[in-house]
Amino acid sequence: MPEILLRGGEAAYTLRTATQGDIAQVAAIDVSITGIEKPGYWEDIHDRYVRQPAEDTGLAHLNRLFLCACQGETVIGFIVGEIRAWEFGSPPCGWVFAIGVRRDLRTRHVAQTLFQAACDSFRAAGISIIRTMLARDNTLAMSFFRSQGMMAGPFIQLEMELQPS
């Protein structure tokens, strides 16, 4: 993977599939964004999005990806996505489930590079739509996704509180 020059600085970074050794750093970026520790969650994501697809070619059609942007061994951003088909009645489409960039390295196009890599990967798999879901009040993430060309799609998310029986 060629090195990408960080906008607004001399340093360069590369994109690569997340390794076992990246998990703790990804989890730390996630906690810095959400404030929630999720024990075992990122290990599980690595297992399902990296280890299993590497061992089982039967999963190739899901195009699972868990990419990290790295400066040497330091993770500065990540993205997770895959192709999902027919859930909610939707034809095959690429999903982005999570994206995050270290606070001190934001607004230098790291997320854009990760997102475009996901788009390229889905496109190469014959997919023409990429989708995500995010909190309505997360203006920062929504501004980012809209800047990449995303608009509201034809689905709407509904929910309700389950009353105790």
């Binding site: 309505r136 009040d137 203006t139 929504m142 501004s143 809209r146 800047s147 060309g149 608009m151 509201a152």
Partner: protein, 136 residues
């Protein structure tokens, strides 16, 4: 959803000028392009000037130039100078709101307001100009 006339004029003027921040245009030129009244637009342009989004260029051949930030100014920033798109969130109350049906209606309308607000707040002028470009 419908925006008020002044808001639409403001958005057209801002997008026109923000597309090329170096360029200046008169109220007449902008009004002509969008088929709106020059008088009405002139008032709107003065408000945008007071908000720091436009700068008036004096003298012959004068007009207005964009002076905001295309990356950091959102559609909501412009809209809110002219109207309130989320009156319930801002505490506006109407007759009947205290009844059960009124409260239920408020809940549904708040859902719609929230989506409208989130949409306008997440579209910067730069992003909107990309959408404009795509319209060929």
């Amino acid at each position: 959803m419908k925006l008020q006339k002044a808001t639409r004029c403001a958005l057209f003027a801002i997008l026109e000028l923000a597309a090329d921040p170096g360029r200046q245009m008169s109220a007449h030129e902008i009004a002509d392009k969008y088929g709106i009244s020059t008088n009405h637009l002139a008032k709107v342009l003065r408000s945008l000037g007071r908000a720091g989004l436009l700068e008036a260029v004096r003298g012959a051949g004068g007009g207005y130039r964009f002076s905001g930030s295309v990356k950091r100014t959102t559609l909501l920033d412009v809209i809110q100078l002219f109207e309130t798109i989320d009156p319930l969130a801002r505490g506006e109350r109407e007759d009947g709101d205290d009844t059960k049906a009124g409260a239920a209606l408020c809940q549904v309308l708040t859902e719609i307001e929230d989506i409208a607000r989130a949409t306008f707040a997440s579209i910067s002028l730069e992003t909107m100009l990309k959408v404009v470009e795509k319209k060929g």
